[in-house]
C-alpha cells in the first residue's frame, strides 16, 4: 500500500511538517481511493481548488501517473511555501504540477483546463455557498465518468453552510453526483453510475486498509436505502468495524 511504500513514507513527513488542515485520516482515505483508481485503470488529471501550502495538493501531485497532470488552483499561489512542501516530495511531483492563480469561479473556460478530464477533484476553496456551487458545477463539467469529487469541511460546525449546500446540490442534481462516503471532515462523491463500485470497494477493504496504519475506524450505514446514499466513517471508539442500522447492526444494506 502507498503508506507502506517509499512514496508514502515521503508523504508522512510532508504531512507532519506542512501547515494545513488536512487530517491524517483523510489522507489515508485519499490514498486508499487513489490506489483503487490506479488498480482499476481509472486515468485522468487531478485538480485541487484551494491549495494553501500544498499539504493535500502535493499528495495529488505524487499520485499523478505518467501523462497525468495535477492542477492546483488558488486565488493566491504561495510559491515559497509550496516549493518548501514539494521539496520534500519526489521531483516528478513538482514536474507533474501546474499552479493556477485565480478565483475558482473564474476557472470556467481557463486555458489551463482546456481539454482536461479529472479523475480526482478536491474542493477546498472559498467556503461560501455560491463558490461551492460554482466549484461543483465545474467538477461536473470536467470530471471523468469514473472520477471522485472530495469536498472539504463537511459536517464541520464552523462552516455549516457547506454541509447544507452539499445536500442541497445532491438533491437538485441527482444525475450529476452521488454521495459515496462522508467523514473526517470530508465527503466523497462519484457519478451515480459509478458510486456503487466505489462503495463496494470501501465496504470490502477500507477499514482493514486504515487499520494497517493504525487508524481504527467504523464504516457506518445507518440509513435506509430511500433516505440517503453513501457510507459514513469515523473513529471506532467501541463501535464495530461495520455498523448497520440502530437495533439491527448487521443490516448493512446499500
Amino acid at each position: 500500500m502507498l503508506f507502506g511504500s517509499k512514496r508514502t513514507e515521503n508523504y508522512k513527513v510532508i504531512h507532519a511538517e506542512t501547515t494545513g488542515w488536512f487530517p491524517w485520516e483523510a489522507a489515508a482515505i485519499w490514498d486508499f481511493l487513489l490506489r483503487y483508481q490506479r488498480t482499476s485503470g481509472i486515468r485522468g488529471d487531478l485538480l485541487e481548488l484551494g491549495v494553501w501550502q500544498g499539504k493535500s495538493g502535493v499528495m495529488l501531485a505524487m499520485a499523478a501517473e505518467e501523462g497525468e497532470t495535477a492542477i492546483l488552483v488558488d486565488h493566491r499561489i504561495r510559491r515559497k511555501d509550496l516549493k518548501k512542501t514539494f521539496a520534500r516530495a519526489p521531483k516528478r511531483a513538482w514536474d507533474a504540477t501546474r499552479f493556477v492563480e485565480c478565483d475558482t469561479r473564474d476557472l470556467h473556460g481557463r486555458p489551463e483546463l482546456e481539454g482536461r478530464n479529472f479523475r480526482f477533484v478536491h474542493i477546498d476553496a472559498e467556503h461560501s455557498v455560491a463558490a461551492m456551487r460554482s466549484d461543483l458545477d465545474l467538477a461536473h463539467q470536467t470530471m471523468t465518468d469514473d472520477g471522485i469529487v472530495c469536498l472539504d469541511d463537511i459536517f464541520v460546525w464552523l462552516y455549516p453552510q457547506l454541509t447544507d449546500e452539499m445536500f442541497r446540490y445532491l438533491r437538485a442534481h441527482p444525475d450529476r453526483f452521488s454521495l459515496v462516503l462522508l467523514g473526517y471532515k470530508k465527503a466523497f462523491l462519484a457519478r451515480p453510475a459509478k458510486a456503487r463500485a466505489y462503495m463496494d470497494h470501501c465496504h470490502a477493504h477500507l477499514i482493514d486498509d486504515l487499520d494497517e496504519i493504525g487508524i481504527e475506524s467504523c464504516l457506518a450505514r445507518t440509513a435506509r436505502m430511500e433516505e440517503l446514499t453513501g457510507f459514513s466513517i469515523g473513529g471506532r471508539h467501541g463501535e464495530p468495524r461495520h455498523r448497520g442500522r440502530d437495533g439491527d447492526n448487521d443490516h448493512f444494506e446499500y
Partner: protein, 256 residues
C-alpha cells in the same frame, strides 16, 4: 448559573450529568442551561417535551427547568422506570413531581391524552434515528411548539447518522414558515419559529460564549456564512479560534 448557585433549582445538575448513562454532552447541557435561563428571563412559558429519554440524562434537566405550573413530558417507546428513578433521585423532588412519563411510539404521541391542550416551550427530539421518523417528529413539534419555543435536534453533524442532518436541512427548506435554524454544534441543532429566531440569535451572540465558559466550556460562536446563503450560528471548541468568528477572510464581519 445552576452549577454555581446552590439555591437555584437547577443546582446539582453537574452531579447528575456525571453519574447518569447517556450521550448528552456537557457542552450541550451548558447550552441548554443558557437557553432555558434565557426563556425564563424573557417570560417564555410552556411545558417541556423530550422524545427519546433513555435514562433521563437530558430529560431530568427539562424537569428541573419546569417552573410552577409547567410540566415536563418525557416520552419513549420504552420507559425504563428503575433507571429514571435513580436519575431523578439525584435532583430535587419537585423535578419528579413536575414530570409525566409517556410510553408510546413517538409517531402516536399527539394522540395521547397527556399531550392534549399543551403548548411546549422546549422540545427535544432524540428518538428513532431515521429521516422519516425525524420528519414525523418535526411535524408534531410544529403542531405543539409555542410561538416562542425551541426545538432541539440530536445527533446533527454526527458522522454516524448523516441522514438526520440531511433531513433537518431538507425539512427547514421545505417548511420555511415553520422553523429556522439558529444554532448548530456539539451534536445538537436548535430551531425556533422564524419570527422569534432573531431574538434567540441575539441572546446567543450577546451572552452564550461568556456564560458557558463559566462552566469550563471554551467555545467559539461562528457566523462564517453570508446573509442570505444560510441562517444560524455554528458553535464548537475554541481552540485557536476567536470567541466570535465571522467570515473566513474577514473574521470581524459577523452579520446575521
Amino acid at each position: 448559573m445552576w452549577f454555581r448557585r446552590k439555591g437555584d433549582r437547577l443546582g446539582g445538575y453537574g452531579h447528575v450529568h456525571k453519574h447518569t448513562d447517556g450521550w448528552f454532552s456537557w457542552e450541550a447541557a451548558a447550552i441548554w442551561d443558557f437557553l432555558l435561563r434565557h426563556q425564563r428571563a424573557s417570560g417564555v412559558r410552556g411545558d417541556l417535551l423530550e422524545i427519546g429519554v433513555w435514562h433521563g440524562k437530558s430529560g431530568v434537566m427539562l424537569a428541573m427547568a419546569a417552573d410552577e405550573g409547567e410540566t415536563a413530558i418525557l416520552a419513549d417507546i420504552k420507559i425504563r422506570p428503575e433507571e429514571l428513578k435513580r436519575t431523578f433521585s439525584r435532583v430535587p423532588k419537585q423535578a419528579w413531581d413536575a414530570t409525566h412519563f409517556v410510553e408510546c411510539d413517538s409517531k402516536k404521541l399527539l394522540d395521547r391524552p397527556e399531550l392534549e391542550g399543551r403548548s411546549f416551550r422546549w422540545i427535544h427530539i432524540d428518538t428513532e434515528h431515521t429521516a422519516p421518523a425525524l420528519r414525523a417528529d418535526l411535524d408534531q413539534a410544529h403542531k405543539v411548539l409555542a410561538d416562542d419555543g425551541i426545538v432541539c435536534l440530536d445527533d446533527i453533524f454526527l458522522w454516524l447518522y448523516p441522514q438526520l442532518t440531511d433531513e433537518m436541512y431538507r425539512y427547514a427548506r421545505a417548511h420555511p414558515d415553520r422553523f429556522s435554524l439558529f444554532l448548530v454544534g456539539y451534536n445538537k441543532a436548535f430551531l425556533a419559529r422564524p419570527g422569534k429566531v432573531r431574538a434567540y440569535m441575539e441572546a446567543c451572540h450577546n451572552g452564550l460564549i461568556d456564560e458557558i465558559e463559566r462552566v469550563g466550556v471554551r467555545s467559539c460562536l461562528a457566523r462564517t456564512a453570508r446573509m442570505g446563503e444560510y441562517q444560524g450560528f455554528g458553535i464548537g471548541p475554541r481552540g485557536a479560534h476567536l470567541r466570535h468568528h465571522g467570515l473566513r477572510h474577514n473574521r470581524d464581519q459577523f452579520d446575521y
